[in-house]
């Protein structure tokens, strides 16, 4: 709350209305280099079949995707816990909760529907 009101007072100066949402050249370059590395490795792993095991490769590239999303959030979208008095982070956490419920819930429910309601089961029953 105090951070929000402080930000509100800073906003009176013209031109620098959104001091919190800018990055520096170094920020952008760091984010870019990290993104290139985190993109290149999954492509190499899959195209070269480096690990030799599809399941392990899948888990590893999902990890790289999560890492790259965090990098983008920090270096390109300039997320931090202080911007807008913490409301952006709160909205993000809420959205992520809904995203996880949507994804995990859909897969869970539909998997059970698929396995329990196969036509073969109905013939046997």
């Amino acid at each position: 709350m105090s951070a929000a009101s402080k930000a509100g007072h800073d906003d009176h100066g013209h031109g620098h209305a959104d001091a919190g949402s800018h990055g520096t050249f170094k920020d952008y370059m760091t984010g870019f280099v990290l993104s290139v590395v985190l993109t290149a490795i999954p492509f190499i792993l899959v195209m070269g079949n480096v690990l030799g095991n599809d399941r392990i490769t899948g888990i590893v590239i999902m990890g790289f995707a999560v890492a790259q999303i965090v990098v983008h959030m920090i270096y390109f979208l300039h997320m931090n816990t202080k911007s807008e008095g913490g409301w952006t982070v709160l909205a993000l956490i809420f959205t992520l909760t809904l995203v996880i419920i949507t994804l995990a819930g859909s897969l869970w429910v539909m998997y059970h529907l698929n396995t329990n309601m196969m036509p073969q089961h109905m013939h046997m029953g």
């Binding site: 930000a7 509100g8 906003d11 013209h14 031109g15 209305a17 959104d18 919190g20 949402s21 800018h22 990055g23 520096t24 050249f25 952008y28 370059m29 984010g31 870019f32 993104s35 290139v36 993109t39 999954p42 492509f43 899959v46 195209m47 599809d54 490769t57 899948g58 590239i61 999902m62 790289f64 995707a65 790259q68 999303i69 983008h72 959030m73 390109f76 979208l77 807008e84 409301w87 952006t88 909205a91 993000l92 809420f94 959205t95 809904l98 995203v99 949507t102 994804l103 819930g105 859909s106 897969l107 539909m110």
Partner: protein
Amino acid sequence: MATHASPAMNFEPGRSPSVTIPQVDPTAFYDAKGEHHPEGSTMLGFWLYLMSDCLIFAALFATYAVVGRNYAAGPSPKDLFDLPLVALNTSMLLFSSITYGFAMLEMEKGDLSRVQIWLAVTGLFGLAFVGLELYEFHHLIHEGATPQRSAFLSAFFTLVGTHGLHVSLGIVWLVTLMAQVHKRGLVPENKRRLLCLSMFWHFLDVIWIGVFTFVYLMGVLQ
């Protein structure tokens, strides 16, 4: 009933003077001159829009996750996806992200012509991305892998197409802003709009990370 009602009736007249609302000038709440309008509220509102857009993509990702392996005896991701093309596409979007970042840095310095140059470069990378995606779609449809072919292809075209549509509209927005910056310069309003587009553009890159990992790379792995 009566015993309950009478004390209340007796109580009301005595109590009413004490609950008078303090007299406040009702216009004091309104900012008629528009002085107190922290720019941050626009950015927060736009962030909330992006979060709701994120939920749309979550629903599309969930759909793809559920029906992504229902090929209906049609082609599978392994038969269709061309990973070098996807890698090229991904790099186009990544380059456009960093060039938009450069445009933002020049905007802070107030260098109008360099802002325009970097925005134009960003737009060209965006066009390259959309062009490659349309080429891929055209190729798939030409091979008979149309959205009608299987549940997998319906979900694929919906998810990737929605992302491509976002990027296309982002390019329209970018061109509009370039015209506005050309006409009015780097006034606070244009800076605010450029910051909103910046968030939109980087957000689309974040969604693309999910697409190339979950749809293309994982699809080829299966």
